[in-house]
Symmetry: C2
Subunit: 372 residues, 2 copies
């Protein structure tokens, strides 16, 4: 390091430091707004599918009616999943599947929407295949006529999913598809910035999302809903938890001070369903009680429902095992990660920050005289 | 994005932006110095082995005589390599091997020197196994009595390597082990900062190093040396290349204005060998001619030999196929990457920079009325 740099200011974690420009998503925490390519997340959930939204993220163009079905796995990807040890972590499995996909497909530079489509279509099949193999079941071939969310549920169970379940999962995939810069998206862009390939970037992103400081804790919300069990038990259960000084899971967010627009969009889907499942009714009822109690106990903190709350409700509700919640988040985020890779490549510049050296001054090895 | 942030200055590629602190290595480009934990790279090459240097990077302590032998592959890692398609890229293979290793070993938080040792010992076996499988040969079990560099060569060929070859490769592994922040090391730290695991971080780093803007082009230097063929042909060949406006490969560096200390250390090893191989004699002779010609043609530019020059000479000299040069660089860099993961975790803070939104203003979907 040049001595002249030592006096520069330093922001740990790059907090508040601009590391790039993006036209993909805008996160407005103060006002509780999230837009993809300018379109509010609520409208996208109301009027689009995950396929539509993924195309919007990749190309910038809105064209409803897009199709994106789960893709078959090539032999190297299937082999990577078959050879995982029993009890392998779902994120490790997904990372290995994407790595094998990259080794087999060799996506070239620059990352493209075509590559993004292929990878985003592969991942649900890989995740469902992993989940079945870990249960001692054979993977199920994808049905090319099913949209991604329905196809993923079909490949988990071998049965055509309930329409409301598929719709709820599709809505979840939309709200989880993209959230601008964060550690995983940033990792994907750093990797892309070396002119590396899309699979390498997404492997890095999956690895970053695996960390609990990023991936969050939807599993804990699911556990909370399971413990509450029914709407009429909600108030007593939560009052008890708060009295014991415990946190209610699924409320409060680092960025959103207003109601998380993703939670709002998912609740709207839940409420609009003609035959909402019991789990959705439970989630809505519990949320109402929780917000009332939190306002009562912490009127100054403005705690609102966050996306994890409805993530847990939806993923649990459609029958996913909690062990694959984080990997399902990663699956949804493929659209956003790959959109960022495409954007990074479109005006690429190697991302290579400086570092401040705080180690020992130059010295000789013990027992070795002064040297050149 | 908050409107208040819009006026902040922005440094593309984070150039000149401090993104962290490190006590591991100091890169002093102006003076041509590189130290690991304060010790000059030249001394480390002269008096230590890769095992000694890796321990120094991980623990901060110098204790010569460290042992690090190549480790056997667990079945999931071996399966990942066996199932790669013919012609798979070596970096994709290494990334897949490390991902499978992580899935099988499940290294926990925080990353530790013990984990780093295990991963760094696994990688040479994986790379050699990949290289043999791609040639239709069976992988060779590691010999636990051989140090890492010799063991890697043994596993490539099945024969005990020449002592001078093993020494030259060990010296290369030392100089390539660490180079402070760069895109791959930074990617590893971003991933670690989410409290993700060591394997996830190293997968991301391998992916970043795969990019030609980072991993460089030692293959092109090797091709240049092959074309020159003998010391007496060097001057005519290089004059011809310069007359045609071509670049000489292996000279000039973004950071080092003085002679690259890594190249100097490798040349010293080459010159100190009692029975230097012909390829080393060629490399030294060609370098002398190249520096003379470059000083003659570009006296103002101060072009000096860079580390890629001796990387190519050493890796080609010890018999590695050019297709695995970048992966051999990645293998050497495992010590540094994992040291950075340990350091990041020791005072962790999530790395999550800001971004400037430059996309469309909020708008409604075509055909959809104004909505909340």
């Amino acid at each position: 390091m040049e001595p002249a740099t030592e006096s520069r200011s330093y922001s740990p974690g790059l907090e508040g430091v601009l590391a790039g420009e993006t036209a993909i998503a805008l996160v407005d925490g103060k006002n509780g707004r999230l837009t993809y390519r300018g379109y509010p997340i609520g409208e996208l959930v109301r009027h689009g599918s995950y396929a539509d939204v993924a195309e919007l993220l990749w190309t910038g163009e809105w064209g409803p009616g897009a199709r994106l079905a789960c893709a078959s796995l090539s032999p190297p990807v299937l082999a990577a999943l078959r050879n995982l040890p029993d009890g392998a972590n779902a994120m490790d499995a997904l990372r290995s599947a994407v790595s094998a996909w990259g080794a087999a497909e060799r996506p070239g530079w620059p990352p493209s929407a075509e590559q993004a489509r292929a990878l985003t279509a592969m991942t649900p099949t890989a995740l469902a295949g992993y989940a079945r193999l870990q249960q001692g079941l054979e993977p199920i071939e994808p049905d090319p006529d099913l949209p991604l969310a329905a196809g993923f549920l079909y490949q988990l169970t071998g049965e055509l999913p309930d329409e409301a379940d598929a719709r709820a999962l599709d809505a979840y995939l939309i709200v989880a598809a993209e959230h601008s810069f964060n550690a995983s998206t940033f990792a994907a862009r750093v990797i892309t910035s070396t002119k590396s390939d899309l699979a390498s970037a997404v492997c890095g992103a999956i690895g970053a999302l695996k960390g609990p400081l990023h991936g969050g804790a939807p599993t804990e919300v699911a556990s909370q809903l399971l413990q509450i069990g029914s709407p009429e038990r909600a108030e007593a259960w939560m009052r008890g938890a708060l009295d014991r000084g415990e946190r209610l899971m699924g409320f409060g967010h680092r960025v959103y001070r207003a109601y998380d627009p993703r939670a709002a969009a998912l609740r709207e889907v839940a409420e609009g369903m003609a035959n909402a499942a019991d789990w959705l009714k439970l989630a809505v009822a519990v949320e109402d009680v929780a917000l009332r109690l939190l306002a009562e106990r912490h009127p100054d903190r403005g705690l609102k429902t966050n996306v994890e709350y409805y993530t847990a409700a939806v993923l649990q509700g459609v029958g996913l095992p909690p062990a694959i919640f984080p990997a399902t988040f990663a699956m949804a985020r493929h659209a956003g990660w790959t959109a960022h890779c495409i954007e990074q490549a479109s005006a690429n510049r190697l991302i290579r920050p400086d570092v401040r050296y705080v180690g020992p001054a130059e010295r000789s090895l013990p027992g070795v005289g002064a040297t050149a």
